[in-house]
């Protein structure tokens, strides 16, 4: 953040594109700025609207050389733009050097990337020393802009000023007058009492969800990564109940309360959240405790209190004769299940700080482990 911690004292901000570069069609410029603001909007309570006349909080100019603020641009290369910390007048404004060749892709200077960086300043972020962060001062053209996301450092920075976005809830998003619930503390990886909210595979990695965070364990790298859920999927709620990956569809389904979301990679799929009752659960089921997908059988198991349902992914329906008692079909799994997933032909059940490895063919528990055994503890 800037010295003195300047920040906006309101959550709804206006922006105005005062002039346009001739390098790109106007709609491409509009789209780049809109997308750049959206990147910040997704991880904060801030919202932005465009105005066409008068003074906006963020006034956006393209300019060359000296352009009225005594900090001249320098021709092609080197300085690409600059922006001012939040405040009245010139503060909050973003200027782009029109001696650059602005492009939609990375063949020239990508306008979206530079705009997203400059708007970070407009919101109160200073430069970051983290080379992976958007707020690192040196331009870094990402090869795959479709998969762009803010780095954890960017999210931490902007959320230190404005907090996280309002949580989604069955009653709809929190309104501007509602208070944001207190943030749960950051869980310690090797806390012997650590429990998980949900566990799922994702494209060969394993995700362990806890409150606002998740650990990402790749079998190729020894150390798990630790991230905010909102930094990957800004519209997902924290404190998930259950999650599973339907590998043949490349979709991870996440559950909270009576709703569920479908995510593919970093994209939350359109049309979600949906109600869990659309899957065929009776009205008495108000939340799912855990879910796992068996790749071999192409069936998903949903665990709710001491019962479970089996869901046929091919017919998209709950199978008849369910629910059944968990303890009857998974001998040894006696307590309520917090989270579950399948790996290497075994089912892993998490309950508090304990984890059971279950062989579905032998129908018995083969190992009792600590919940955080996957995190090198």
């Amino acid at each position: 953040t800037f010295p003195g911690l300047p920040k906006w004292r309101k959550t709804h901000l206006t922006y105005r594109i005062v002039n346009y570069t001739l390098d790109l069609p106007r709609e491409a410029v509009d789209s780049a700025f809109e997308k750049a603001l959206k990147a910040w909007e997704e991880v904060t309570p801030l919202t932005f609207s465009k105005i066409y006349e008068g003074e906006a909080d963020i006034m956006i100019f393209f300019a060359v050389r000296e352009h009225g603020d005594f900090i001249p641009f320098d021709g092609p290369g080197n300085i690409l733009g600059h922006a001012y910390a939040p405040g009245p007048g010139i503060n909050g404004d973003a200027h782009f050097d029109d001696d650059e060749q602005w492009t939609k892709d990375t063949s020239g200077t990508n306008l979206f990337l530079v705009a997203a960086h400059e708007f970070g300043h407009s919101l109160g972020l200073y430069h970051s020393a983290d080379p992976t962060a958007l707020m690192y001062p040196v331009y870094n053209p990402r090869t795959d802009l479709t998969r762009f996301r803010l780095a954890q450092d960017d999210v931490n920075g902007v959320q230190s000023l404005y907090g996280p976005p309002p949580m989604s809830s069955p009653d709809g998003p929190a309104g501007p007058t509602e208070s944001v619930p207190p943030e749960p503390g950051t869980p310690a990886t090797c806390d012997p009492a650590l429990s998980f909210d949900a566990v799922s595979s994702l494209r060969g990695e394993i995700l362990f969800f806890k409150d606002r965070h998740f650990w990402r364990k790749s079998l190729r790298t020894p150390e798990p990564g630790f991230y905010l859920i909102s930094s990957f999927w800004p519209s997902l709620p924290s404190g998930l109940d259950a999650a599973y990956e339907e590998t043949s569809k490349d979709i991870v389904f996440t559950f909270k309360g009576n709703q569920f979301w479908a995510i593919r990679g970093t994209e939350v799929q359109a049309g979600y959240p949906k109600g869990i009752h659309t899957l065929g659960f009776p009205p008495s089921v108000t939340k799912i405790d855990a879910a796992l997908f068996d790749k071999e059988k192409e069936k998903t198991y949903f665990f709710v209190e001491d019962k479970y349902w089996r869901f046929d992914e091919k017919t998209q329906s709950v199978e008849p004769d369910f629910p059944k008692k968990i303890a009857d079909d998974f001998p040894g799994v006696d307590s309520k299940v917090d989270a579950a997933f399948e790996a290497f032909g075994f089912y892993y059940f998490f309950s508090g700080s304990s984890q059971l490895e279950f062989d579905p063919n032998a129908k018995k528990v083969t190992h009792v482990l600590k919940t955080n055994s996957w995190l090198n503890c």
Partner: protein
């Protein structure tokens, strides 16, 4: 007379470094005269500060990696110091 290209390049690199440190690392104007003295304390300190911030090897010298970094396009907001 033939131009001494090596000396010219060196001067131009030093100018670039001086400008970079002034713009982004709050190098004081009165330190300017010392930039070309490689052992100048304030300049070495600023180079080290820059190298550390940008994630380069901290040598305190204008080495090739540092030179390459300061030639890259970047944001015009200073990395350190008071923002005006």
């Amino acid at each position: 007379y033939p131009v001494d290209r090596a000396a010219e390049d060196k001067d131009s690199n030093m100018d670039l470094l001086q400008q970079y440190l002034e713009n982004y690392y709050d190098l004081a104007k009165d330190v300017k005269q010392f930039v070309r003295r490689r052992d100048s304390g304030p300049v070495v300190k600023k180079i080290r500060e820059m190298q550390k911030f940008l994630g380069l090897e901290v040598t305190g010298k204008l080495d090739p990696d540092t030179l390459a970094m300061i030639r890259k396009p970047r944001c015009g907001v200073p990395d350190v110091g008071q923002f005006t």
